[in-house]
Amino acid sequence: MQIFKVFMKVLKKRIRYAMLYVGIFLGIAIPMSLNSSNSGSTKEMFVKESKSKIGICIFDEDDTPESREFADYLAEKYTIKELKNDEEVVMDSLFYMSVDRVISINKGFADRLAKGETEGIIDSRHMHESYNSMLLEQDINSYFSSVSAYIAGGEDALTASQSAKEALTADADVKVISFTDEGNADYPRDFAEYYRYMAYILIAAVIGTLCPVLMAMNNKEIRYRTNCSSLDSSSYTKQVLLGSAVFVIGVWLIFVIAGMILYGGVYKGRAWLAVLNSFIYTLVAGSITVFLSAFVNNMDIINFINQAVSLGMSFMCGVFVEQELLGAGVLSAARFMPAFWYIKANMLLDGTEAFDSTKLMQYMLIEAAFAVVMALLTIVVSKARYNSTAPQKRTAPAVNNG
């Protein structure tokens, strides 16, 4: 196990790099996961929650009981944000969507309302023609439609405002139907995001750490020296692969165990399938790394390839941005990448797509096929590169271990 020991010695020097990736990932994933589990994920709550998250800012220059009634109505349904009445601050808040609309209730609001005038009664600023902005407009129009109707019914503006506010608290008869089975209760979407982001971190950490180690082992002079030693080349390969496997599986285990802590105990049901999916993907990450190290021997190039592969797959395959938001052309290209199938399998498991065990198996097999192809390519490249006859010609007679 001489080679294995050397491998571990070299790995020890690079392990800080892997720990950096692991630490940053867990440092971000744990608070995010805790935050999403506290936000309440039951279906009934979501309908209410999605309203309250909408931010609105109100500048009440009229400051009358009627204007306060209107402001109260909005405050009960949405998150009121206090902003400085400054163009720069308002523009920033609207652009970055910390508020969706900025409402100004101008002087004379109560008088106009008393006359039943509602057309353009408030000034509104918004940046994006978004769903939030549309919902706010719809709700504000409903409020003023109701107030003007009560006024037409003979009420004064203040009473009409109070009556409208009360009338608008009525809830609609909403039925939530589920066409998918509820099996994803063991693997909720909030938690599935942890496994989704793992697709990035596994590739980045494994390539970034393992590639330099394999490069050191594959250094041409050292490799030729090993080749002409009494060590059997298959034993050499086995020991290097064993070292790589120990590292790759170790990193994977750290993520799986950290995931268990976030999960709140031992995985159940579909969560185990997600673990299996991530294991197959880990093998893909390992095989990509071994392949790269077979023909690249420059750290700068490895850094570039690492960023290109990890970020490229993550952006294109739906790790950072959900697949449903990506363009059709991007997704077509992404089909040739393993992360695409990893994410597809994850979507089946978390209930984003209707669960189908045959499809799941198919996706996992495609991922595994990538690992096999990479392994075959590695063998071809290694044979061509390290078992060439060039050194033997110079130093003949050499022991041919290849």
Partner: protein
């Protein structure tokens, strides 16, 4: 001698592979990935599109028809309605072709599968119907003679919001990732700036030791290195803006020359910061690089490179920080060119960049001059 030093500074600088990668190739790669990932998100996820809705009528409701007809007259109607039977509606809902089913009977009811904004808007729409009924019922109890006036009011279209236009620029929130990308390249400038000090500090490099015992005045050699770094960084900034605008087709507004000016000044700011930091201490090169990259990346994080809303969050809670954080200042100058028709915000950001650059460069020169070594 100045031009001789400048020439070799440029030649050696452009041959550093890590420089070529992090300041030229990496921004191109990241920009392309941003474009691939965020290219459609604003249209697909943020902008409102009519909500596909199935309507199942269990009894005739002329008023509902009237409301839907009036809605459909708008440019972007609230609902894209398909009248159908229950089985087909369920099928459409299952296939995700509609966001919800509205059942029109004595009362309206709604069936949905998800709980996203589409469904919340549908729910609000259905609730409005219940509200109208309640208003008419309340009026009937108080003063039945006014029912007609109330019904007339309720059937009127209300447009209570007087919309004040905010900008003529591109409001796509994802464009800010490209502003931050340019700011990121500027904030890699400190690495270029650090090389000046490494090449001039005798304790950090053999070249530094050689320069310190050469007859060339330190001021000439230092200024040539500074000028060379500014040129190299400016080339990277120009490449980044050109690539994002002409290849990725990112719309920076109609004042592109000023975008180049802001980007180049941002790059010079970055170099000056690196020069200052490298000069002010005697840490090892690795330590300097580590600290300066941590500061630069944190600056980029605060400006929203990793998390888009970060600048907005800071604007809400610590607005002064956005006015002095270098990455935010660079990104904000590009943002203001796109969003504002006047130049006041742009000019204030440019002045901030010039002040930071001047302070860092002056401080770096003051600290470096007359530095002596006991032995080399």
């Amino acid at each position: 001698m100045f031009f001789h030093d400048l020439k070799y500074m440029l030649l050696s600088g452009f041959r550093v592979k890590s420089f070529l990668f992090w300041l030229m190739l990496f921004p191109i790669l990241l920009g392309t990935l941003f474009k691939v990932a965020f290219g459609n998100v604003y249209e697909n996820d943020v902008l409102f599109r009519s909500i596909p809705t199935a309507v199942v009528e269990t009894s005739d409701n002329a008023v509902f028809h009237q409301v839907i007809d009036s809605l459909e007259e708008e440019d972007e109607p609230l609902l894209a309605v398909e009248y159908t039977d229950e089985d087909n509606a369920m099928q459409l809902l299952k296939e995700g072709k509609v966001s919800g089913i509205i059942y029109v009977g004595d009362k309206l009811s709604l069936s949905v599968t998800e709980q996203k904004m589409d469904q919340v808007i549908l729910k609000t729409f259905v609730e409005q119907y219940g509200v109208n009924e309640k208003i008419i019922k309340d009026t009937a109890e108080k003063d039945p003679s006014k029912i007609q006036a109330v019904v007339d009011k309720l059937s009127e279209d209300v447009s209570a919001c007087n919309d004040i236009p905010m900008t003529h620029g591109d409001p796509d929130i994802y464009v800010q990732y490209f502003y931050n990308l340019i700011a990121m390249v500027a904030m890699y400038g400190p690495v270029t700036g650090l090389h000046i000090t490494v090449q001039n500090q005798a304790n950090l490099s053999a070249l530094g030791a050689r320069k310190n015992c050469s007859p060339t005045p330190k001021s000439v050699s230092m200024l040539a290195d500074l000028a060379g770094s500014y040129i190299m960084q400016s080339a990277c900034m120009i490449l980044c803006v050109t690539f994002t605008h002409f290849v990725l087709k990112i719309d920076f507004g109609d004042r592109l020359p000023l975008v180049y000016v802001a980007a180049v000044l941002g790059g010079i700011l970055g170099v000056s910061f690196g020069f200052f930091f490298g000069s002010v201490n005697r840490f090892s090169f690795e330590a300097k690089i580590g600290i300066v990259m941590a500061v630069s990346m944190f600056s980029c994080f605060l400006s929203g490179l990793m998390m888009g809303q970060m600048k907005g969050i800071i604007a809400e809670h610590i607005p002064w920080l956005n006015k002095i954080n270098p990455a935010t200042v660079v990104a904000d100058s590009l943002f203001s060119l796109n969003m504002y028709s006047d130049y006041s915000r742009f000019i204030s950001r440019i002045i901030t960049m010039l002040i930071i650059t001047a302070v860092c460069t002056a401080a770096g020169i003051i600290v470096t001059r007359r530095k002596k070594y006991a032995d080399l």
